[in-house]
């Protein structure tokens, strides 16, 4: 603890021990505890207490106070626990102070015990101090374990849960000393404390009171979840309750799977299937449980008897059918969970094999058809499902997500055709909600990409070639939707499509035949900023691929109209941040990819963009400006070194120009001025990024040595003066036209490493300091005192 804190501490303790000075803000106490925790991690608690007697005074005084506040009492209990976690300090405190706090004579016996905060503080204090064997004796001597038992059923959920956790902790602590392999299978030689707790758990498990059984199960679950020591196995296998049926854990799980209802069995089945080492029979059973609801759906809609592939001869589907039919919410919930579980399972390496791809595809397509009312039910169950699922958005979303996942496995030709048909239907339907439509776009993209990956297929793949001409009219319609979410997801979909297939002749043909490029360009003026941003991204992508507009004039059939002026206009004039950020991302991509509009006059492009961006109010736009500058530097100076987090990929690394030339270019585009300004940006990420960029620049220019000896240059002094003004917050003044040598000198004179360190600390490091906390607490009390004086 530093001197300043030690000086403030007595006053703070005095405030806390004075019931007339209530602590207004509970978070102060939490922060104080956090601070003590860090202090005791580094220093001896015993020494701390001896050097700061005010702490001991506080801890012994508080429990004796009549009208102590519950908050302060709870704080004291927890603080004492933190100190007593160290064994020597525990020994020092256990004679008087700890019994007074945690013993029967302490808060336990007082009215203030009724406040949940106090009980919670008591438990947390014990949880902290129970770190060494001596603590176990203390717990036993003061009957604390019995109190914890009773607190398991506390009215406050926080207290009850903390009590359970504490029991687990005590059990683990008391068993902790056991050497592995020395545990008696019967547990007879277990420590008294452990025997007591296990006895309590067993008793609770046999209780007719459900809440007690639940408490015991919670303790067991936490124990098994937290601790993998051999003794837990003993607990599992030989506990009279758990072991009574002679069943091992696998058999128990199998029983549970067969007995639980579909809603509870699903998550368990998923858990089983995620295990790496698990008997095959159990895996098969678990997968069967997971597939039941889908099998039920298929059965209800299939005319032919028997279900090829998925759960032939299921026996217990009546329970599942009941769950599906009992109510709309139960049906929707079960189907959504099942689909989500299967979606989670599919990409895992340990997923069941063989994977029933064909029946799963059939099932999910059927569900989607039930949702849009086009499925024809084969039974009364089907008819009921049809009514329940018609128009259900939740199930549609889950089914489309899962359908997207299934694209990894493809399927037989005719089934893939069916998948594309249902996807097209969903994209076309006027009733599709914006969210469903977005999911349909995502699933479509995944299927298109998968179909293109079919072995032996070049280009788009046979399905995509057939599908795209049907897709584009739908996309056109969606780009004209009055609902902005729809326009937005259609644009995102278009961007993805072009990114993957912009070079494919078939795709280019269909796209250019359609009105999609014009509609997309039109959306640059959309009233909704998200849509404008997506339109910028989409147009940027189309333009990179030479797809952005069909020739407007017959004289220049090949010429694309440049988008650069339009984008620059958005960057300088759009009132919302999203479109401007999108423009900067597109510009960065264009620069990286050597886009013709940029390559024509890169310097002019950079100068214009950096000038506009430096005035932007959105820090993300400014940060993106630095990203652009970094790419530019990479291209003029060569690849950034490995210390730089940014990697620049250039199609062909241009040979670095002589340094003077490069520096001249950097000065002409005013990159120095932009980066220096950003260095003192009020938004930390921008300053950090600029710092990184300047460090990169300095390192890159270092090996060349300095042609001009720095220091004496008068220009440099004026730059530094300007920088100091900027740092002080006077951002208005420009740097003026300056020579490269002055810039370089300035660059070398700035303590960039130091600045980086300061920036890494975060802006609130001063406010977070313990001194500040202690002063704040005192100040608050001071204000309270003044108010009291006024009142009297």
């Amino acid at each position: 603890m530093d001197h300043e804190c030690a000086r403030l501490l007595p006053a703070v303790c005095a405030v806390l021990a004075d019931p007339r000075q209530p602590v207004a803000d509970d978070t102060c106490l939490e922060k104080l505890l956090d601070w003590f925790k860090t202090v005791t991690e580094a220093e001896s608690s015993l020494l701390l207490l001896q050097e700061n007697p005010c702490l001991l005074e506080l801890l012994s005084h508080v429990p004796t106070l009549q009208d102590v506040s519950a908050g302060v009492l709870s704080f004291s209990l927890r603080l004492a626990g933190i100190f007593a976690a160290q064994e020597d300090c525990f020994q020092y405190l256990q004679v008087e102070l700890l019994p007074g706090l945690f013993g029967a004579a302490g808060p336990l016996s007082r009215a203030v015990w009724a406040v949940p905060t106090v009980r919670s503080g008591w438990i947390q204090g014990l949880r902290s101090l129970a770190q060494h064997p001596s603590a176990l004796h203390f717990l036993a001597d003061h009957g604390a374990v019995d109190t914890v038992f009773s607190l398991q059923g506390d009215a406050s959920l926080f207290v009850a849960s903390a009590a359970g956790q504490l029991l687990v902790h005590i059990l683990a602590l008391s068993m902790g000393g056991r050497a592995e392999g020395h545990t008696c299978p019967q547990g007879d030689d277990w420590p008294t404390c452990a025997q007591k707790i296990v006895g309590h758990i067993e008793e609770s498990l046999c209780s007719t009171d459900t809440s007690r059984v639940t408490q015991a199960l919670n303790v067991l679950t936490t124990t098994f979840g937290r601790c993998q020591s051999p003794w837990t196995e003993v607990l599992w296998e030989h506990s009279p309750v758990l072991g009574s049926s002679d069943l091992g854990p696998w058999e128990m799980t199998a029983q549970a799977l067969s007995r639980l209802g579909p809603t509870q069995a699903g998550p368990l089945a998923l858990g089983v299937l995620k295990l790496h080492l698990c008997p095959q029979a159990l895996r098969t059973q678990a997968f069967g449980v997971l597939l039941q609801p889908l099998a039920c759906v298929l059965k209800a809609t299939t005319q032919a008897p028997g279900l090829p592939g998925l759960l032939d001869g299921t026996s217990e589907d009546s329970v599942v059918a009941d769950a599906l039919l009992s109510s709309k919410s139960s049906c929707v919930g079960l189907l959504c969970r099942t689909l989500a579980h299967l979606e989670e399972l599919q990409p895992l390496p340990q997923h069941p094999s063989p994977w029933p791809q064909v029946p799963l595809l059939r099932a999910v397509v059927t569900i989607l058809r039930l949702c849009d009312g086009s499925a024809v039910p084969a039974s009364s169950v089907g008819g009921c499902l049809c009514g329940t699922l018609a128009g259900c958005v939740r199930v549609q979303r889950a089914a489309l997500d899962f359908l997207g996942t299934l694209s990894q496995g493809m399927g037989p030709q005719e089934q893939v055709t069916q998948v594309f048909a249902i996807l097209l239907e969903y994209l076309e339907r006027p009733d599709s909600s914006p969210m469903v439509l977005k999911k349909a776009f995502q699933a479509t993209l995944r299927w298109l990409l998968s179909s293109a990956r079919t072995p032996g297929c070049s280009g788009l793949g046979p399905h995509a070639v057939l599908f795209l001409p049907e897709l584009f009219p739908v996309l056109q319609k969606r780009l004209c939707s009055p609902c902005w979410e729809v326009r937005d997801s259609a644009l995102e979909f278009l961007t993805q499509l072009s990114r993957h297939w912009g070079g494919q002749a078939d795709f280019r043909h269909v796209l250019l035949e359609s009105e999609v490029p014009e509609l997309t360009q039109q959306l640059l003026q959309d009233p909704e900023s998200y849509v404008r941003a997506s339109a910028v991204t989409a147009m940027g992508e189309l333009s990179s691929r030479g797809l952005h507009a069909t020739p407007t004039s017959p004289e220049q059939p090949e010429a694309q109209q440049s988008l650069l002026p339009e984008f620059l206009h958005i960057l300088s004039a759009d009132s919302e941040g999203f479109p401007r950020r999108a423009v900067m991302q597109v510009f960065t991509e264009w620069l990286r990819g050597g886009h013709a509009d940029v390559a024509r006059d890169t310097e002019r492009f950079m100068a214009t963009v950096l000038q506009v961006v430096s005035r932007d109010l959105d820090w993300e736009v400014r940060a993106q400006g630095l990203e652009l500058a970094l790419v530019f530097l990479g291209q003029t100076l060569g690849q950034p070194g490995p210390h730089c987090p940014y990697t620049v990929t250039l199609p062909k690394a241009a040979p670095p120009s002589p340094l003077t030339e490069v520096l001249g270019a950097l000065c002409r585009v005013r990159l120095f001025e932009f980066a220096f300004r950003a260095l003192f940006d009020c938004d930390r990420p921008v300053a950090q990024k600029s710092c990184d960029l300047l460090l990169f620049l300095r390192d890159k220019t270092a090996p060349y040595g300095s042609p001009w000896e720095a220091g004496g240059s008068p220009d440099s002094a004026s730059v530094e003066a300007a920088l100091q003004r900027w740092q002080a917050g006077e951002q208005g003044q420009p740097l003026g036209d300056l020579e490269p040598e002055a810039m370089l000198a300035t660059l070398r004179s700035i303590d960039l490493e130091g600045l980086r360190g300061t920036l890494a600390q975060g802006s609130d490091h001063v406010e977070k300091s313990p001194q500040s906390l202690l002063r704040d607490m005192l100040a608050t009390v001071g204000i309270l005192q003044e108010n009291q004086a006024d009142c009297y």
Binding site: V376, D431, K477, C480, S481, P482
Partner: protein
């Protein structure tokens, strides 16, 4: 007072569930609920100004029938299918309650040609906009004079030889030509204006009240109630937030019977999705230089579409595309909508106080983006610019300016016709225009209740019985597997079809009766249970104007002369000496003990389903004790019977 079973009948005069016409005989009143006009019959006729080639048909009808693209149409002034007029004498109808302007189009046929002499009740916007719809209809038909009126084809023997759909057209004998403006005015003059929640007394027996139904300007549901019975009539209601005042659901609670009509005609389409579809297709067409034709009624959904376009056209970059609204009543419709502030949804009402016009079409007109014309002749032909969007009637495509645009634009695939009104099958509407190059988009916008909303409404309102058209009790024919597209309620809804008479099931059968003060004074109540007192009353029930009063009975007449005596006995019911009324129950064990005390022996008690039988074996007598009766059965031993009776009576209270 509990009275004998009282029947309440409902006569169904229309087979169209959204254009209902029912007559309710309730207590002593005869109430007609709506008088919708089924105009789908016009689809069998040729569009009015079209000239078609003649094809030889049945020799007698060759002048009447024309073929066009494989369909046969009647070449005559279009005719409408009237409500049933034979089922009940319509001159006996006391009142007609109108729920919305679409459901009053048959009014002139009823009020002018059936001897009807009652009153029609409707809200002001209903009447005003209803008048506009009628005016437009009459105008559309009258301005294209067509001498020919075909009737030969209606001959049953001829009709069955005709090709479909004419062969299958129903009730052709009831089809009538359109009414005249004079008849419209006369019919409308019989209407009395009402406001929401206003209580209207009918002959002291029944009270009727209109409630906001949320579907259209001034649209209402009706409550028809007496002291003990309540019938709710729900017609054309909407729970969506569009321009009208929201639906009043709370007042529909505690109904004995709820008559449910006017649900959405497109239960699988959601209006929001359809509006989106409308806008997207409109934009795509106009962008390509094509024109958009929207066949529509001059009021209703068009307000919402214009509002939607107001927001959409700028964002879609279509601000320069003119919107034209062509109807003989276009101007009135746009203006009326702005003045019925009190009938609008809250949002629009509050605009009036700003003050701003509640509908944004005012701004569209101000900025010249929306222009309206009475017809295509005159100013319109000077202003007309393409590409454009035209809203015009009639949605059946059989008459009105829409016919002109179908001919003008039908040949180009750049143009699009977008159907938004759900009343007509768009394929049938288009049939006489085939082959057609223009694109056709069907996005019916029907904001009326769908089945999910109905099920929520019924759960909320909990009527004892639901009565509805038969169409709502089975899935639509095209989607027979959609068992969810029916009214789902307990007990199951009672359904009706055209020309059917229904007895409405009522659970409560009570009447309110007043007691004259002097009679009330004479009553001496006796408390038989804590809080419950009884008294017998002898009185004369006097009933007049559906009010019932108990009056003191006349004093027994003095037997003076034979003549007079006879008259008195005619008028006054017999006032016999009243036997006391009995109450209480007989405890069997104690009764047996009493019997034994009085010398009866050999008593046997048997339990039966309803009570007990006490057997006096020696006396060969049987006493049957049940909850509400006691019988003593013995063989001709009156003495014994009286003795036993007196013993029974000891256990009962008399008053």
């Amino acid at each position: 007072m509990k009275i004998k079973k009282r029947f309440c009948h409902s006569y169904c005069l229309s087979g169209h569930p959204t254009l209902p016409c029912n007559v309710l005989k309730f207590k002593s009143t005869t109430i007609m609920l709506d008088c919708g006009l089924d105009m789908t019959s016009t689809l069998n006729f040729l569009p009015l100004p079209l000239v078609q080639r003649y094809v030889l048909m049945h020799p007698k009808t060759k002048q009447e029938l024309k073929e066009c693209s494989g369909h046969v149409f009647v070449d005559s002034v279009p005719e409408f299918c009237l409500p049933e007029t034979e089922l009940i004498d319509l001159s006996t109808v006391d009142v007609i309650l109108i729920s919305n302007y679409h459901c009053m189009m048959a009014l002139p046929y009823i009020t002018e040609h059936t001897g009807f002499s009652g009153t029609v009740y409707a809200t002001e916007p209903t009447v005003q906009i209803g008048r506009l719809l009628m005016e437009e209809l009459v105008n559309f038909i009258e301005r294209v004079p067509k001498a020919q009126s075909a009737s030969l084809w209606k001959n049953k023997d001829i009709q069955r030889l005709l090709p479909s759909p004419l062969k299958d057209a129903v009730e052709v004998s009831t089809w009538r030509r359109c009414y005249t403006m004079q008849e419209v005015n006369s019919a409308l003059s019989k209407i009395q204006l009402v406001g929401y929640s206003q209580k209207i007394e009918l002959f002291g027996a029944v009270q009727v009240t209109p409630l906001s139904s949320g579907y259209a300007l001034g649209s209402s549901n009706w409550i028809i109630q007496s002291h003990y019975e309540k019938v709710s009539y729900v017609s054309g209601s909407s729970l969506l937030t569009t321009h009208p005042q929201p639906m009043d659901q709370a007042s529909l609670k505690n109904s004995d019977v709820l008559v449910l009509t006017g649900l959405t005609q497109i239960p699988t389409a959601n209006p929001d999705g359809m509006v989106g579809e409308f806008c997207s297709n409109l934009a795509l067409t106009v962008r390509n230089g094509g024109n958009v034709l929207v066949p529509c009624y001059p009021s209703g959904v068009i307000y919402d579409l214009l509002e939607c376009l107001y927001q959409y056209i700028d964002s879609a970059g279509l601000s320069s595309v003119p919107l034209y609204f062509i109807s003989p009543v276009a101007n009135s419709s746009l203006e009326f909508s702005q003045i019925f502030a009190e009938w609008l949804c809250h949002n629009k009402q509050s605009k009036v106080y700003l003050p701003e016009p509640p509908f944004p079409h005012a701004e569209l007109i101000q900025t010249n983006k929306l222009k309206h014309y009475p017809s295509i002749h005159g100013d319109f032909s000077n202003d007309f610019r393409q590409p454009c969007v035209v809203f015009t009637g009639h949605p059946s495509l059989r008459f009105g300016d829409v016919v002109h645009f179908m001919e003008l634009w039908g040949k180009s695939s750049l143009n699009t016709v977008i159907f938004t009104e759900p009343d007509f099958s768009y394929l049938e509407a288009l049939a006489p225009y085939q082959p057609l190059a223009m694109k056709c988009i069907y996005c019916p916008i029907d904001t009326r209740l769908n089945f999910i909303q109905v099920s929520k409404l019924l759960k909320e309102v909990q009527p004892l019985h639901v009565v509805c058209p038969e169409q709502y009790t089975q899935p639509p024919p095209a989607q027979s597997h959609r068992t969810d597209l029916v009214i789902d309620c307990q007990p199951p809804a009672t359904s009706y079809r055209r020309a059917e008479v229904l007895t409405l099931p009522f659970k409560r059968r009570y009447e309110r009766i007043e007691i004259m003060p002097e009679l009330a004074d004479s009553l001496v109540p006796m408390e038989i249970k804590p809080g419950i007192s009884l008294a017998t009353v002898s009185a004369v029930l006097h009933t007049k104007d559906n009010k019932h009063v108990l009056q003191p009975p006349p004093r027994p007449a003095q037997p003076t002369s034979g003549k007079k005596r006879k008259r008195v006995s005619d008028d006054v019911p017999d006032c016999k000496v009243l036997k006391p009324l009995l109450s209480g129950s007989i405890p069997v064990e104690q009764f047996v003990q009493t019997l034994e005390k009085h010398g009866f022996s050999d008593i046997k008690v048997e339990d039966t389903a309803k009570g007990h039988i006490v057997l006096l074996q020696e006396a060969e007598t049987l006493i049957q004790i049940e909850e509400d009766s006691t019988h003593i059965i013995c063989d001709n031993d009156e003495m014994l019977r009286v003795r036993l009776r007196d013993l029974v009576l000891k256990f009962l209270q008399k008053f």
